[in-house]
């Protein structure tokens, strides 16, 4: 599964479509090859502090997080949502619901790549109606994944409000979308790739920034 966000020559090129969210073993190989020698721009302690701050901000902005629901976008948004929920629960002394929202079927770049495996969507039994949904993802780049998530939410119910939390905002938006909570603003060039590693999925916490080596194909 790639979570690299390869910079591209524009969405028309299938090889550069970013943020494939689903299991695709061959991609993972490409990504690690592409990021060989990537620079660590975010250490585990910084990730921890950023998530703690975001959890506080969510509580503050939502006045104590009544009726909020944290929905992570697979793959790496899901453990981030779980961590944020755990922190918010710790600060407020009660459980904060979290889940997963797979957006694969709503992506606008499906036809640019072979069909991909689907991730899990996990929602609380009471659904999302009337909740303040916070979408959680690792990297915000073009904004296309978030657009897909907004469409997916529409089909699942009618939240009272939708907010967005990301660990890294690397710029280069292609849609009018911004994050409400940002762990780190990371200025990048389109030629660079950002890769988030998390203990739950990769065995360690880190954010890597690297030059893309060769074409992804």
């Amino acid at each position: 599964m790639t979570h690299a966000h390869p910079a591209g020559n524009g969405p028309a090129d299938p090889r550069t479509s970013r943020a494939s969210r689903s299991g695709d073993a061959s991609d993972a190989g490409e990504v690690s090859a592409g990021l060989a020698g990537g620079k660590r721009v975010f250490e585990p302690a910084e990730i921890r502090r950023a998530l703690t701050r975001i959890a506080h901000e969510i509580l503050e902005r939502t006045h104590g997080a009544d009726d909020i629901l944290l929905l992570g976008i697979p793959t790496r948004g899901v453990p981030l949502a779980e961590r944020l929920a755990a922190r918010a629960a710790e600060f407020e002394g009660r459980t904060v619901p979290w889940g997963a929202l797979d957006v694969t079927m709503y992506r606008d770049d499906l036809r640019l790549r072979p069909a991909r495996a689907l991730g899990h969507t996990i929602l609380p039994p009471e659904g999302i109606d009337g909740k303040t949904v916070v979408i959680v993802d690792d990297v915000l780049y073009s904004g296309r994944t978030v657009r897909a998530a907004l469409d997916a939410l529409t089909d699942l119910g009618r939240p009272r409000a939708v907010q967005l939390a990301v660990l890294v905002d690397r710029g280069h938006r292609e849609l009018p979308i911004r994050a409400d909570y940002v762990g780190k603003n990371l200025p990048t060039s389109q030629r660079e790739m950002v890769r988030v590693l998390l203990a739950e999925t990769d065995g360690e916490d880190a954010v890597l920034l690297g030059e893309r080596r060769g074409a992804l194909a």
Binding site: A25, G72, R76, M105, L112, G119
Partner: protein, 334 residues
Amino acid sequence: MNRHLISAADLSRDDALLILDTAEELARMSDRPIKKLPTLRGRTVVNLFFEDSTRTRISFEAAAKRLSADVINFSAKGSSVAKGESLKDTALTLEAMGADAVVIRHVASGAPHRLAGWIRGHVVNAGDGMHEHPTQALLDAFTIRRRLGLPPGAGATGAGRPTSRRGAGRGHAALDGVRVTIVGDVLHSRVARSNVALLNILGAEVTLVAPPTLLPIAVGGWPCEISYDLDAVLAKSDVIMMLRVQQERMRAAYFPSVREYSRRYGLDVGRMEALPEHAIVMHPGPMNRGVEIAAEVADSPRSTIVEQVANGVSVRMAVLYLLLGGAELPGEIR
């Protein structure tokens, strides 16, 4: 995945598991308020049915519509086929109409294979003669996996803790060691052929039980056991799949009488009780109640017959999504 789904035997283990895992995700959609996904918007799926089949056609139709594809139903009765049009001319007509996928059922074994050579779209075999019916085998495997509680893909490790799925083909539960007994008219059954192939790919142990007259000549080469005695295998079956006695395909006397067939090879309550506690009873439908399966068995909690219908839609959605949902990169076309 291949470009077409013509035979279950063409699937690799990873392909088959990808379809089952995708179907598992799609099945969860059925309790959503909006049971529709935008994924195949603007794509056209043609249901080309040269043989009567209501349940398979509406299952494919529901699957395509839930993925927002446009569906055109073409049935041979009352169409130009009745006026003598050849399969190839029909295919070229569909091609000209811009069909992205053709779901075909045909009386002649091999018709989907020929069709695939004539059109640019994807071909899905919905049953060809006495050859194959791969989506039925996939939905049967899906039903077995769900009912026997075998965990789906790597992602489902414990509720409430959604861990990520990392790479297709790793850590998925197949049907390794599951003992499946398929009973009845194997000779005329494309369902049996597809099931033997797919269940074998997924690691299950298949036993065919039928009168010698209803087994194909080449069955010795199939990857399965053969038995002529149903009572002998009941106790060692996790799944028992009853096939329909296909009177319409029988042009000779394959057994002395329906009553005798039913006595030796029908699943009645007594035989059901001889099955292990956890065993399930399957039937691809439509059933001949009182012939291959007793009404009490068909309506018992062990029967998965109604579930199989619901699962059919999820599995066919998965197949259509995986064939049509993505791009075909030049290297992928086979």
